[in-house]
Amino acid sequence: MISIENLTKTYEKKEVLNIDQLSIKKGERFGLVGNNGAGKTTLFNLILDLVKPNTGQVLNNNVHVHQSEDWKKHTAAFIDEGFLIGYLTPEEYFYFVGELRGLNESQVDSWLEEFEVFFNGEVLGQKKYIRNFSKGNQKKVGLVSTFLGNPQCVILDEPFANLDPTSQIRFKEIVKKQIENRTTTFLISSHDLNHVTEVCERIVLLEKGLIIKDLKTDSDTFSQLESYFKV
């Protein structure tokens, strides 16, 4: 699905990312862990063509993301509040994103039913603009919007941050369910080792822009990661 070659990014002579080779298979649940400044968000921004790489390339479903915009048709992402439109209500926001992905309002409505439990009655029908929602509920809106129109590739930066414990658990279930039903590729970064090892089948550990570990998740992974971060 995604293949990265020789990708580097430098900010003012400081290299923040350097990845020789990384490929993510179709349908893979790919987890990204690392301390602050490890380059997780930079990597996602490069995949989404939001920042320009110094060298190297990213192919998304064989589309060179820097040269063509065709990857946008099958990719969805939620990185931060910059992906929300503050002056819309959640419904209006979903309709807008739905329209861009070829869904009409009633299709969006019926599709939203699936997420009623996750929203916990706090998101839909609130007569409030997104900018007036709590951080947690804003996050829910952003996360759910990425599933609209069943994109093949979903990129989520810190999806568990700001969610309350119940919502964290429910969100894990949603991701697992998405994978059962479809062939969605997930790229998820997180500081929460517990969640990420539970959801993802493969975990890459970044440190100062370099890939330190590339693990296939098994019962041992969590303790392996924990012992790495203990130091």
Partner: protein, 490 residues
């Protein structure tokens, strides 16, 4: 100590802001502009008494001025409502520090006096008061008159505080305004005449100073108490709770993606503080022509009239269009990762500006009272704006990548962020081109040649817009990363 510390912080904030070098130049130009405005108002203040006295010798000059003052207060009130930002946002970081609550509140209320609107009495009414003394009114009467107006201005300053913070005050004010208007229309009672007589009575009775001064003290106390009782994050310091403004925009259904974008843009305009200011300014531009069409000295100069006509229908596209990607800066990464092309994005903006020109064209039919030829100017300007004006502003916007905080009001004269040298350079083609296009054929050929050329240029712009929009899209693409980076500094 607090005042000094506060100053230090503002200085740091200024020099550590992105593009502070540009901000200095901008401050300089804005300072010049402000000085010019101050001088103009001062000039009006000094001369209006004589002008009115000469033009209408049969009326009492001070009565006319007093009636005018009523409308000045009305304009000031609207201006304050849209532009005066309550300075509460800084306070949050002080709440936990060991500073006395009273001190913070008094400091906050005192600082609001530095607002530009509070300069009007000194610039406008004080010179009038001085002229009155020169013209023979006793200086006590004149001074009392001035102090009344000063107190009313400052009362407005705090009233706006309350109106911005509480729906109850907002609604009561609205009811009062509606009442005044209906009284004006349906009865013999006239609020501005009543105001003028009232002012007359007040200046005759020095003791009445206690009334307006008392009013000022009262509103200060109310504001103070109001803020003190709400000195918590979720009350007075939080923004007024918003009601969702629901509008169907059913007419945009069935226009697919462009319709969806337009719907968003209309919501952006109606639900955010900053774009609302743009709407107000665009509305005021509608009346710009009155300055020129009503004056004999301009009525014969067709080039100046074309200049005015361009502004009448182009107000919105000028003010909104030149900041086009910036309006979406808060969620630019979303737009950059969704399945949409720059062309679609630009198309929707173009249609928005097209719509604004058409609406302005309809709203400006009142210029027909100056004769059909005058309205022809407006129509010609509108067609030019449809085709060429909107494209030039969109083009200039492509180079202007300063993030806009949508729901924060811009303050008059301090909005350095909206300033850029490229924008300044684009002013020449924006204003100069239509005048040139009109002037050259008008001068050499005469008759309707100027009008026809302007209309043809406008229509040509409509026909060729795809070409230009494609070119602008290319600029957007080339500047993509720069733009994203600049917008992320919001």
């Amino acid at each position: 100590m607090t005042i000094l510390k506060f100053w230090q912080l503002s200085i740091k904030a200024f020099f550590r802001a992105p593009q502070w070098e540009v901000a200095i130049i901008a401050k300089f130009f804005l300072g010049l502009f402000a000085a010019y405005m101050f001088a103009s108002i001062l000039f009006i203040g000094g001369s209006i008494y004589y002008i009115l006295g000469r033009t209408f010798p049969e009326h009492s000059t001070i009565d006319m001025i007093n009636q005018g003052v009523f409308f000045m207060f009305l304009i000031e009130f609207i201006g304050r409502f849209f532009f005066q930002q309550p300075p509460t946002t800084h306070v949050q970081s002080w709440m936990l520090l060991p500073i006395n609550k009273n001190k913070i509140l008094n400091d906050m209320l005192f600082r609001s006096l530095l607002n530009l609107f509070n300069y009007t009495p000194w610039l406008l009414y004080f010179p009038i008061a001085v002229v009155r003394v020169i013209e023979g009114t006793s200086w006590t009467t004149s001074l009392i008159w001035f102090f009344h107006l000063l107190c009313i201005t400052l009362t407005l300053n705090y009233l706006i505080f309350l109106i911005n913070k509480s729906n109850r005050f907002f609604i009561s004010t609205l009811v009062l305004v509606i009442l005044a208007i209906s009284l004006e229309f349906y009865t013999d009672f006239s609020s501005y005449k009543f105001f003028a007589t009232g002012l007359n009575w007040l200046e005759q009775n020095p003791i009445s100073l206690l009334i307006t001064a008392g009013l000022l003290v009262l509103i200060y106390r109310i504001t103070y108490q109001f803020l003190k009782s709400r000195f918590y994050l979720d009350m007075g310091l939080a923004k007024k709770s918003e009601k969702v403004l629901r509008l169907g925009f059913a007419f945009l259904e069935g226009y697919g993606r462009i319709g969806a974008f337009l719907k968003n843009d209309l919501r952006l305009l109606l639900r955010n503080a900053r774009p609302k200011q743009v709407l107000l300014i665009a509305f005021m531009f509608l009346f710009y022509g009155l300055l020129f069409f009503s004056m004999e000295m301009y009525r014969t100069n067709s080039t100046i009239l074309v200049f005015a006509a361009i502004f009448i229908t182009g107000g919105f596209s000028f003010t909104y269009g030149q900041q086009v990607p910036s309006w979406d800066s808060e969620y630019y990464p979303l737009l950059m990762t969704q399945n949409l092309t720059y062309r679609e994005y630009l198309d929707s903006k173009w249609w928005l500006m097209f719509g604004s020109v058409v609406i302005s064209m309809i709203l400006s039919t009142f210029y027909l009272i100056f004769g059909w030829k005058t309205y022809l100017y407006v129509l010609t300007g509108a067609i030019y704006n449809l085709g060429v004006g909107s494209l030039i502003t969109l083009y200039s916007g492509a180079f202007f990548n300063v993030p806009v905080k949508l729901n924060v009001k811009a303050k008059a004269f301090s909005n350095t962020k909206a300033f850029s040298l490229t924008q300044l350079l684009f002013t020449f083609p924006k204003l100069g081109l239509p005048i040139l296009v009109f002037f050259i054929p008008d001068f050499f050929l005469g008759g309707y040649a100027g009008w026809i050329t302007l209309i043809v240029t406008g229509l040509l712009g409509v026909v060729l817009r795809k070409l230009v929009l494609n070119h602008i899209a290319k600029i957007y693409r080339n500047r993509k990363y720069k733009t994203i980076e600049a917008f992320s500094k919001n």
